[in-house]
């Protein structure tokens, strides 16, 4: 899909995020909006998937380690046809296939249960390792939050990814700079992530995480013998003026008025 078409999908996914969280009266719009271009690009242009056969053993895998960005995930999966957009109305409701955080038992297209931060990257390492030892050409993608990188287990996973030479694994880190309690740099500074990831043995690409061409270039760059990391600088709440760069919109849903305003800003 070309950049123009992709940005149309991105706009639609942003509207989906607002609709879902608005309907539910809860959820995480900020970190969903920051991840839209990354997730849309991977799903539309890089993953081998068949929405009609979501458990195809030869599919590529995606792990949303920052599971609170579920509205973005569900938006992308629905746009691709894994399930109907009608499900959005039940997001976070009793018996819904769309749980507050991703649940592979309930949602077609979801490969792991995530949301408890720090665990998804290790699961992705296991998937990539499992593909390698069985001689499969499966590619595995994981999307992490920057606040999430404060979890020690993330670094255990990074160590293992390099140790097992997982060049079929791409780790994307959504660097939106904010977490629940404030700026990541103030809460617990991550320091020089580029240097740290390189020191951990990754092939590192640092880009603007809303620039579809830059994302495409980073995802397409060939890599051999080591895992890839895309450090994507993003804006939390991207696309909705009053949500942008506000930690307060991490886990708060828009009210009716805010929802209308947001949707207006996101019109085609």
């Amino acid at each position: 899909m070309n950049t123009n078409e992709l940005s149309k999908v991105c706009r639609q996914v942003r509207r989906d995020i607002i609709e879902m969280t608005g309907n539910a009266g809860s959820g995480h719009p900020g970190g969903s909006l920051s991840a839209v271009e990354l997730m849309t690009s991977v799903f539309y242009n890089h993953m081998r998937l068949d929405p009609k056969n979501p458990t195809d053993p030869n599919r590529d895998r995606f792990v949303l380690s920052k599971g609170h960005a579920a509205p973005c995930y569900y938006g992308v999966l629905a746009e691709m046809g894994f399930f109907s957009r009608d499900e959005f109305a039940d997001f976070r409701q009793l018996h819904s296939i769309l749980q507050g955080h991703p649940d592979c038992k309930k949602t077609p297209g979801v490969d792991a249960a995530t949301g408890s931060l720090g665990q998804g990257c290790s699961i992705a390492v296991g998937m990539a390792l499992g593909a390698k030892i069985q001689g499969k050409d499966t590619r595995v993608y994981a999307l992490l939050g920057d606040g999430e990188c404060q979890e020690g287990q993330i670094w255990e996973a990074f160590m293992a990814a390099a140790h097992y030479k997982l060049d079929n694994l791409t780790v994307m880190i959504d660097l939106n700079g904010l977490q629940i309690d404030g700026a990541v740099a103030d809460v617990m500074n991550l320091g020089d992530m580029n240097a740290k990831l390189r020191a951990f043995g990754f092939d590192v690409h640092e880009i603007d995480g809303h620039d579809l061409d830059a994302i495409e270039e980073a995802l397409s760059a060939p890599v051999s013998g080591r895992p890839k990391c895309i450090l994507a600088h993003t804006v939390k709440g991207r696309g909705v003026s009053f949500m942008e760069n506000q930690a307060g919109w991490h886990g708060k849903a828009p009210n009716a008025e805010q929802r209308q305003q947001a949707l207006k800003e996101l019109e085609d």
Binding site: T114, S116, G118, I123, V125, G126, Q153
Partner: protein, 308 residues
């Protein structure tokens, strides 16, 4: 009963048997392959063995990922670092999505001995039993540990298996092993003694001591703590009227509670839990530590007698 073999050793050797017939079996460890006995598999199938280093949380989630690729991962470390340290990884990334991961942890209970309380899990059965849908197995001897390991490979879903460091007597008789089905090892009318793990042998010894005094007890090996064999527990409680549970685990959360959950409100009986009384373990020779916590055959026999 002559030969002594630790359940961890039987587990390690059974993994090699499995490796030969099932190429989907993969084994993970966290720098304890020599102690958990996954070293045998490592030597036989190095391409399917992954030492994750001293990073148990990462190991559990790598196993979760491997299971989604159609593999059958067996994960081993010490019980405290598996069930304890990586509890939430097991809970959220393995049990919640019902992934087919086998968590087989050695060095459970105070019979770990010299390493001391920091390394003696007395709460792992409770932790794992609490997780919805988790199957919890505690083999009594080396033969059963082998059969259980083979059964796990055929069973679909998350399982926790508790293994011991200490070499203990191997039962001369052959007993069948079926997940969820308790084995009655001795029949007696005066009390139903439900035991698991190393305490099964102690309970059998206690039964012999009591028999010499004219007291006959039933000894039931409850190797599957969850799902527990409710029919067997109920039948023997009703038949004997006195119920005693024996485990090398805290009296809170383990076999005793599992048996009590079955009987509560249903069967009128005297009930006593024998186990570790809300304490941590400590260093010492395994036999001395077991005695310190009241878990030897003669001590168990005395407690049973008190209860009757």
């Amino acid at each position: 009963m002559s030969e002594k073999i630790a359940t961890r050793e039987a587990y390690g050797k059974a993994l090699v048997e499995l490796g030969a017939v099932n190429d989907k079996i993969v084994v993970l460890d966290a720098d304890l392959a020599g102690a958990t006995m996954t070293k045998f598999f490592k030597a036989a199938y190095p391409d399917r063995f992954f030492d994750c280093g001293i990073a148990e949380a990462n190991m559990m989630n790598i196993a979760a990922g491997l299971s989604t690729m159609g593999l059958v991962p067996f994960c081993s470390t010490f019980a405290l670092f598996g069930a304890g340290r990586a509890y939430e990884q097991i809970r959220n990334s393995i049990a919640y999505p019902k992934f087919n991961v086998k968590i087989c942890c050695s060095h459970a209970g105070v019979s770990v001995g010299e390493d001391g309380g920091s390394h003696q899990a007395v709460e792992d059965i409770g932790l794992m039993r609490l997780i919805p849908g988790m199957t919890v197995i505690v083999p009594a001897d080396a033969k059963e540990a082998r059969l259980a390991t083979l059964a796990l490979a055929e069973f679909r879903g998350p399982v926790y298996m508790r293994l011991a460091r200490l070499a203990t007597p191997v039962f001369e008789e052959d007993y069948p092993f079926e997940i969820g089905k308790a084995n009655v090892l001795r029949e007696g009318k005066d009390a139903a003694v439900f035991a698991c793990g190393l305490m099964v042998n102690e309970a059998l010894e206690a039964a012999r001591l009591l028999s010499a005094e004219g007291i006959e007890i039933s000894v039931i090996n409850v190797h599957t703590i969850k799902p527990i064999d409710a029919a067997c527990v109920t039948a023997y409680a009703e038949k004997c009227g006195n119920v005693i549970t024996v485990e090398e685990h805290s009296v809170i959360g383990g076999l005793g509670d599992a048996v009590a959950d079955v009987l509560m409100g249903k069967v009128n009986c005297a009930f006593r839990k024998i186990g570790i009384n809300d304490q941590f373990g400590q260093s010492g020779k395994a036999a001395d530590v077991l005695r310190e916590y009241g878990l030897t055959a003669d001590q168990i026999a005395a407690k049973i007698k008190e209860t009757l």
